[in-house]
Amino acid sequence: MILRDTMNIQELTAQLDQLEQAAIKTLNSADTAACLEEARLAYLGAKGEITVLLKSIAKLDKDERPVVGKVANRVKEAISAQIDLRKNELDEQELAAKLSQRNLDPSLPGVRLKLGHLHPLTQVMNDICKVFYGMGFSVGSFPEVETEYYNFDALNFLADHPARDSQDTFFTNAGKHVVLRSHTSNMQIRTMENTKPPLRVIEAGRVYRNEEVNARKYPIFHQVEGLLVDKHVTLGDLKGTLNEFIRVFFGRPLKTRFRPDFFPFTEPSAELDSQCPFCTGQGCKTCGHKGWLELLGCGMVDPAVLQNCGIDPEVWSGFAFGMGIDRLVMLKYNISDIRLLFTGDLRFLEQF
């Protein structure tokens, strides 16, 4: 629409009104955001009808301009307002449409990258170390390839002790007296040689024994060993410390009993039985219907061992304990074959 010179103000105003009505009709019939935008451009865009019309006002007489301008602005504002109104309507319709979607099957699997699993041995060893860390034990790591001195001699094993036989212990080509440690107790000597008491150390690690492979035995297995040396340490402290461990590890206090036993490097020595955590002492398959579970060996550090490490047994005393982890894990989860721990079978690992 072009303003013609001949057009009088009345005609012009009428035309603007007409334009307004047409625009409002178009806007109201726009049923998508895209149509609405198209309509907005048609009227208010750079080349839109209203824009062009407003530009042509400049050609009018000086005194006519304000009159027409006023009308034109009113029309423009009315169209703008209508666009906003219609936009809101369309937005609400769209939202309502979105909200009306009900076709979700939430039972379809989530799309994800699977998380890996930590080995049960790692989990149990970490848990055990954490409990003892809480009781002031620092966590250490010690050699697996070891001299007979640290694995046997300094631990008070006699020269002809059966454990030293090649049927029990692996010997290596690294040296005449270099063996694969048969227990984690080498940490006791290495700790006491390097650290002055008072000391508290715990280690979880691998040990080796020359045993035929079967469902219960594997030449490689894991132990946790703890050592505490201080002034005035007693058998009662050993009992209390291990009772605390059992309470925290199993999540509830369980009865324990300390059965005297014999180890070359502790005196007195004991086996610690805990009330079977799986049946709370009622007797079950796991505990062989005894109600008790043999958990670990422990004892007061033998004075000869302290002396071997340059610690005066008349001043210091201490206790040590060691437990097999593979068996504990097998009992905990009812695993029938120790070899499952070492195959890397994902059907096994993914359960932990």
Binding site: K239, F262, G344
Partner: protein, 849 residues
């Protein structure tokens, strides 16, 4: 060791104690009882010997008869109704009196005897058949007619040895040879249950002179004491019922009166004995000596044994007739026709017997005891006891005991300071109580001071008690470990935070989808796959951490082959021969295992050690370096769960991404990471699809000293594709990607959090596309861009690679600039970009479009 409750009661008063109570005491007193089994016959008295004095027919019944039985010489005979037909007057039979409990011969159920009236006739008891009193017999039904003329009124159960018995399975203790017998366990039970010890009464028949046998001991260390007794006029026959029952109860087969007597005494007193058929001892000589190589003999179990100087033997003038402390010879075995024997009782060195037993792969009731130590002071008594038992059965002629060596024990006294008990256990035990605890075990105690006791150690405990602490242990064990009150140690300073590197790595890798495996660190040799073929001066390992032993400048440190590999000298099998130096082989085997079991996407990692022989060993040093490693293996696809598709094949960049995430978890600045080619890749890596991870680190100590800041680089490990040759050899499906890094080195380059203020000024982002020859590395380009961009460059990200032709490619980088305080202008950025283009052109012959 199997312990008969009945036998035990010969040596200790067990009245009022149940086997369960005794087992509990033993278990808590250092001798674990694994199980209790009931054996013997469960019947109850009164069951006595009665003589049949009259048999009359029943007036109303043909099948039953009325008997009168004398069970008490001072009383009238009893009327007893009997259905059996095999009885005649004058026989003596077992009679169950009212109150007795016998066995229903039809059902096996308990049968309670009471006075009753049978078909109108009074019956005051029951005449017993064999089955009714638990005697197994082949005879047809009928009353059990007692052999001989046992006394009227005698307890028939005692006569026939019809008792319920319990066998306790006691775990033997390696340091307690003295407790491997009934008498030894009795001492423990007496001490633990506070009961009196007693001894069965017996007396050896007078000794008569017999032929002399010369004894000789080659080395007193092997055999401190040897005794031989000749016994003549022996008649071989079955053992008395009691001996046979007891041996059977503890799991031994009764053989004959002589062999059973030796076994019986071994079980009872813990002293092994052996009887030789005397005529088979040649030259009237018995010698204890080492075997000679080439010597061969046949043992009782008819096995041929090759002897050696490690094996202690019993020999006559001509040949070996027995393996000392382990097993006798077949030739001199006591048999049905034996009528004279030589009874050997001796003390042998525990070490020697154990060695022999291990070498021959043979253990016996004798060797089990000698290995744990047998009391030298008990040899004579055991020989006497055994001789007594043999003579009892057949009235043999007993010769004098010939001996060699010495059986006098050492005298060992140990001082026990009572405060030491308190110091070790936190409990106070008075001197009197200590005395009453230790005395039953055979210790002789004298009080020296108010708080000091001197204990004389009995000969049979000298093997395990020689120090004060050993006595403290004895006292506490008898007093009761369980009575020691639990306490907590005094508080201590907080421990250092444990090193968490391994756990961070584990968690980062599980977050990436890898599961943790644990594979054997003692593994097999695999030349041709994981280990290179053995070659001279070859570096036998992968290139993970450069443990070449020649770095130590000590070639002698290595084995003969110059290898750093640690071998086990006594391997169990080929599968457990060497200590691993890489974890990757174990993980690749796990991939194979999983693929064989139907799992294709296998993402695994393991943290553990590699073992390297790097130096010389001595008593205190192994010369071994144990390096903690982390390795991973990726096969199949992404561990993706999706029904929308989208899985993609793995490639080098998958494994690189995992390694980068791992480094990020350890806060290692990505700017410090370099992935460089490997000069001599491990044999298990694809030589063209692998690289090493380098971490550059500025040395902090040198910075402190204000010397030149020096940048150090360290190879942390390798990553890449598994060698396709191995994939083929192991028949793996698809490519496998692996990495292996040194945890020890990663730990050393771990970083800290370095926070930078978040800026609010707008950033300007520009893409820069660079056309380059394909052999120009991305990180060189990226580094060059950073160098020219100045400090306002926030990030450079590679967003696209486009292959132009065979020799050129186009890399698109997205550069983001930001000034902390000001808004950058386009002119500034354009200037920078111009500089970057110029330097890329100069450095890499780059072109731009």
């Amino acid at each position: 060791m199997k312990l008969s409750f009945d036998w035990l009661s010969d040596f200790v008063d067990l009245s009022g104690l149940t086997p369960q109570e005794v087992a509990e005491k033993l278990t808590m007193g250092a001798f674990e009882v694994e199980q209790i089994r009931q054996v013997g016959v469960d019947i109850a008295g009164p069951i006595v010997v009665g003589e049949i004095v009259e048999i009359n027919p029943h007036p109303d019944a043909d099948r039953i008869r009325l008997t009168r039985i004398k069970v008490d010489l001072d009383a009238q005979p009893l009327d007893i109704v009997c259905g059996a037909q095999n009885i005649i007057v004058g026989q003596r039979v077992p009679v169950a009196l009212p109150g007795a409990r016998v066995i229903n011969r039809h059902t096996g159920a308990p049968l309670h005897i009471q006075e009753s009236v049978i078909r109108g006739a009074k019956s005051c008891g029951m005449l017993c058949s064999a089955a009714e009193i638990g005697i197994a017999t082949n005879e047809v039904d009928g009353i059990y007619i007692l052999p001989g003329v046992p006394e009227i009124g005698e307890d028939a159960r005692k006569l026939l040895y019809l008792y319920p018995d319990w066998v306790l399975d006691v775990e033997p203790r390696s340091n307690r040879g003295d407790a491997m017998c009934v008498a030894g366990m009795a001492r423990e039970v007496a001490a633990l249950c506070k009961r009196d010890l007693r001894e069965p009464e017996w007396e050896l028949a007078p000794e008569s002179p017999t032929e002399e046998i010369q004894l000789r001991i080659e080395n007193p260390e092997d055999c401190p004491f040897l005794s031989i007794r000749v016994i003549k006029d022996v008649i071989i026959k079955p053992s008395p019922i009691k001996v046979a029952r007891r041996l059977e109860a503890v799991g031994m087969r009764a053989i004959n009166n002589v062999v059973d007597a030796t076994n019986y005494v071994n079980y009872e007193l813990g002293q092994p004995l052996h009887a030789y058929d005397l005529p088979f001892i040649k030259g009237r000589l018995i010698e204890v000596r080492r075997g000679k190589s080439g010597e061969i003999m046949t043992t009782l179990d008819e096995k041929r044994q090759k002897l050696s100087s490690e094996i202690l033997c019993i020999a006559d003038a001509e040949e070996v007739i027995g393996i000392a402390g382990i097993m006798g010879g077949k030739d001199s075995e006591v048999g049905d026709n034996t009528n004279s024997i030589a009874l050997e009782a001796a003390s042998f060195s525990p070490v020697r017997i154990r060695r022999g037993s291990r070498l021959l792969g043979k253990s016996s009731e004798a060797s089990l005891r000698f290995e744990r130590g047998v009391d030298v002071a008990g040899v004579r008594k055991a020989s006497d006891r055994c001789t007594y038992l043999i003579a009892q059965t057949c009235g043999a002629t007993v010769g004098k005991l010939s001996t060699a060596g010495s059986d006098s024990p050492r005298s060992i006294s140990v001082t026990l300071r009572l405060p030491q008990i308190k110091r070790m256990a936190g409990v106070e035990i008075a001197a009197d109580e200590v005395t009453s605890l230790l005395t039953p075990l055979g210790f002789k105690l004298t009080k020296r001071k108010a708080d000091e006791i001197i204990a004389e150690v009995p000969s049979f405990r000298q093997g395990d008690v020689s120090r004060e602490i050993d006595l403290v242990e004895e006292v506490l064990r008898l007093w009761g470990f369980d009575r020691v009150e639990a306490s907590l140690p005094q508080s201590a300073p907080a421990p250092e935070l444990p090193d968490d590197t391994l756990n961070i790595i584990r968690h980062a890798l599980t977050a990436c989808g890898l599961s943790e495996a644990i594979t054997g660190s003692l593994t097999k040799r695999e030349p041709g796959t994981f280990n290179p073929e053995p070659q001279e001066n070859g570096d036998e390992r992968g290139d993970v951490s450069h443990h070449k032993s020649d770095k130590n400048g000590d070639d002698n440190a290595k084995g003969d082959s110059g290898s750093t590999v640690i071998e086990v000298l006594n391997p169990l099998s080929e599968d457990h021969q060497i200590m691993r130096q890489n974890i990757v082989p174990g993980l690749v085997r796990a991939v194979s295992y999983n693929q064989d079991h139907g799992t294709d996407t296998v993402w695994l990692f393991e943290t553990g050690k590699g073992y390297f022989k790097v130096g010389k060993a001595d008593d205190r040093h192994t010369g071994v370096k144990e390096e903690t490693l982390v390795s991973g293996v990726l096969s199949g696809g992404l561990p993706l769960v999706s029904w929308q598709g989208g899985n993609q094949a793995l490639d080098f960049f998958t494994v690189k991404g995992v390694v980068e995430n791992l480094c990020q978890a350890l806060r290692i600045d990505p700017e410090h990471l370099d992935f460089l080619p490997v000069e001599h890749p491990a044999p298990w890596l694809h030589p063209g699809q692998c690289c090493q991870l380098i971490v550059k680190q500025e040395s902090h100590t040198e910075q402190k000293n204000k010397t030149e800041p020096k940048s150090q680089t360290e190879s942390i490990g390798v990553l890449g594709e598994l060698h396709p040759g191995i994939v083929n050899k192991l028949k793996l499906r698809g490519e496998v990607y692996v990495f292996e890094l040194s945890v020890d080195k990663l730990r050393a380059v771990r970083g800290d959090i370095e926070y930078q203020e978040v800026t609010t000024t707008p950033s300007i982002v520009r893409d820069l596309t660079v056309d380059l020859a394909v052999d120009i590395r991305h990180d060189d380009v990226s580094r060059s861009i950073k160098k020219r961009s100045g400090k306002n460059l926030k990030s450079v990200e590679l967003v696209n690679i486009y292959k132009l032709d065979e020799t050129h490619r186009s890399l698109t980088y997205r550069l983001s600039f930001q000034h902390p305080d000001e808004t950058l202008t386009n002119e500034e950025i354009n200037q920078k970009l111009e500089m970057i283009r110029k330097s890329l052109t100069e450095d890499f012959k780059a072109s731009f479009r």
